[in-house]
Structure formats: structure tokens, C-alpha cells
Symmetry: C2
Subunit: 222 residues, 2 copies
């Protein structure tokens, strides 16, 4: 069977790691003189993220500009304290779910595995590299931009592997499950991360962690 | 006395660290399938760096494009292997010279200290943060672009500190020492890094490491 994995919140806890990085960054900016309480700064930062989208690369810059009347030189000392802390924290935290690599290792013996993820190409690849996931996917990594749907990519993947017998594993009903349903392949929704309670297209299977995939695929074999 | 420190190759071994990061990155790209010997790839990379300047952010991208006829998807797997390795190596290596913080701690008791460096603002600040140098300089960080001279900044710094009694410590005759000579302040050239054998304007003092500053300033006191 061909297994198509989503990356964020499916192979590693993206959402939790981002939250921890932002927390550490805000504290670093406060320590360097950004006025306001933690809650006030988080509120303003969240507003900026909502306005500009998560791939905008000046969240801290704009937050600090809006919250202070400091000179540009003083602002930069604060902004970069946040950016540096965000990046060093990211490097420390960047790990897959504890079961991810063990499960992938087992699956790889019987199945083809690929990644289908949304985001910026270099950013997504950087995550795959840091997470140590390259050996399980090699060049079978498909990245679509935030504006594209995953459907077209699924069709290309099925064509490349010359099969229609595929299972997509992802966390987002509005993206992963929807695309699987539309292209007629099976889908398993991982009930983790920020989308676990969002209503949307129904998956064929619901799993609480990746280990459950092993059982699922074993019973499909029988 | 007011002490004006250059950053790169003066407070930490920039040149050596960059070389090590590039080495690690090239090896990571080879491991991921970039064809060519280590020497061939380094030669092409060096050509790109010379052509585009050191602050261009697509050195690996262009090197891989020039060396392969692979599809963009395959190129990205290789390019990002280099970028990720470069960045993780940078985070591991980023440390001041072994004597830097001890010397700064001692100097700070008697003197005002500031940084005057060339480069991109956020990139230079990121280095200061990662090196742990912020406590010794606080908001006394002056960053000029690669195209600007350091002279104008020195004049502003002297005005801010209301003094002309200043010593600039740097490694580059064509930038640090030249600017000090032109503005009439003293200069000490650190004889380390890639500029140590380059002829240029003469400094007032030559030092082999930052510890020698302590002696120098002590004898200036006497």
C-alpha cells in the first residue's frame, strides 16, 4: 500500500513546539526591555500572526513596533532577542512524536511512504532534515503552497507510484481528509493537535497516535 | 576610556566558524547526492560567494543549480540538506574566543564599551545574542551596512559619550584601523583571522589576543 503522510502535527507536534518557541521568545523580549505584561504582548503578537499569516517573517518586528515608541536601534535589540530565542528553542525542541520513527521503520518494510505537506518548500524541507525524517521518505517529498489544494499532488503521486491503493494520514479535515475523499483514496485522521475537534469531511479511520496505524494496516492485510 | 570593539574576528573567530559550517554543509549535500568531489564543490561554492558577496542568501542554491541537471524537487532536497547543516553547525559552534568574556568583564569595571560592526542589522544582532555578549554592550551596539564606512558612526559614538578619548579594537586595516586613523582616535589591531597579513593603514598598537588589551590599558593608565 502507498502511505501518504502529512508533516505538521502528524509526524511531529508542530503546534506545541511553535507555542513553546513563542513563549520563550516573548520572555526573552521582556527581559530585554519590551514593556507590557506577558499577556498583553501575547495578545498583540497573536493579532499580528492572525493578520499577516503564520509564514510572515516579521511577527516580532511588527509587535515591537506597535507596542513601543523606542528608536529603531533600541527596537532591534528587543526584536532580535526574540528571534534568536525563537530559533535556538526551535532547534532544541525539534523532535518527532516519540513513536514516529519506530512506526515509520516498521511500515517501510511493507509499504511505500511519502510526505505531502503544505507550506514554503525550504521551510518544510528544513523541518524534515532537523527531524531526521529524510531516510524514510528520500525524494518522495511533495510540498504544495498554502494556497494550493493537496488534490492535484495526490493525483501526481498515484501516477508516479502507478497505484490507486493509498492511505493518507493527516490531522486536518479541511485539507488532508478532504483531499483524500475527493481523489478516492482512503484516509486516517490523527486525533492530535489544533484540528482534532474541528468538524469537517469524515475520514475512513480515526487514530489517536501513529502506533495505531500498524494495527490498522495489519487488519487490512488479513 | 571609551573602547569601541569590532565584532567579527575580533570578539569571536567568525572566519574559522564560517569555514567549518561550509565544510559540514558541503559534506551533507554530498551525502544527499550532490555529484562531484569535495574540492570541486568547494571551488564552485567559493566562486558563487565571490560573485554574490557573503551576505547573499542563496549560495548553496546557486551552487547546486550550476552543478546538476536535476529536477527542482531533487535539487531542493540537496540544497536544504546544506542549509540545515550550516545552521545547526553554526548554533553548535557559535562561541566567543575563550578569553573574550573574561576580558570584557574586567574592562567593563573601568571603561565604557561598545560594538561597532559592519553587516546586516538583524544578522549582527543575532550573533551578539548567540555569543552571549549583550550584557557587556547593552544598547551600545552600532551596525553599519557593508557599503558604509565606520567613520560617521565613530563620530556619533564620540558625541554620545562626550569624549574623544577612545580606542578602537579591530582586525581589518582597511576598515577598522582606517576609520580610527581618520577620526583621530587610537587603534589596536588584533592579529588574528583572515586580515592579519593584509597591508594597510598602521594601527597605534598590535595585539595577538584580547588579553593583551588589559596590559595595554594598564600601562596607558600609568
Amino acid at each position: 500500500m502507498l502511505l501518504i503522510f502529512d508533516l505538521d502535527n502528524t509526524l511531529y507536534p508542530t503546534h506545541e513546539q511553535v507555542i513553546q518557541c513563542r513563549e520563550a521568545a516573548v520572555k526573552a523580549m521582556m527581559k530585554r526591555g519590551l514593556p507590557g505584561t506577558y499577556e498583553e504582548i501575547r495578545k498583540e503578537l497573536n493579532k499580528v500572526i492572525k493578520e499577516k499569516g503564520s509564514n510572515y517573517n516579521q511577527h516580532f518586528d511588527l509587535t515591537v513596533k506597535r507596542m513601543t515608541n523606542l528608536s529603531r536601534r533600541e527596537q532591534l535589540a528587543i526584536i532580535t532577542a526574540g528571534v534568536t530565542k525563537y530559533n535556538t528553542t526551535k532547534q532544541e525542541l525539534m523532535k518527532p512524536y516519540s513513536e514516529t520513527t519506530r512506526v515509520l521503520k516498521k511500515l517501510k518494510k511493507k509499504h511505500n511512504t511519502c510526505i505531502l505537506t503544505k507550506g514554503k518548500e525550504k521551510k518544510q524541507w528544513d523541518k524534515i532534515n532537523r527531524l531526521g525524517l529524510y531516510p524514510y521518505f528520500k525524494n518522495n517529498v511533495w510540498i504544495v503552497s498554502d494556497e494550493e489544494s493537496k488534490e492535484t499532488a495526490i493525483k501526481k503521486i498515484l501516477k508516479k507510484f502507478k497505484t490507486t491503493n493509498a492511505l493518507l494520514i493527516g490531522d486536518r479535515p479541511d485539507s488532508d481528509i478532504k483531499a483524500a475523499n475527493k481523489t478516492g483514496i482512503k484516509s486516517a485522521q490523527l486525533m492530535k493537535g489544533p484540528y482534532k475537534n474541528i468538524k469537517g469531511p469524515e475520514p475512513d479511520y480515526k487514530i489517536n497516535n501513529l502506533k495505531e496505524l500498524l494495527k490498522l494496516l495489519k487488519s487490512a492485510d488479513d
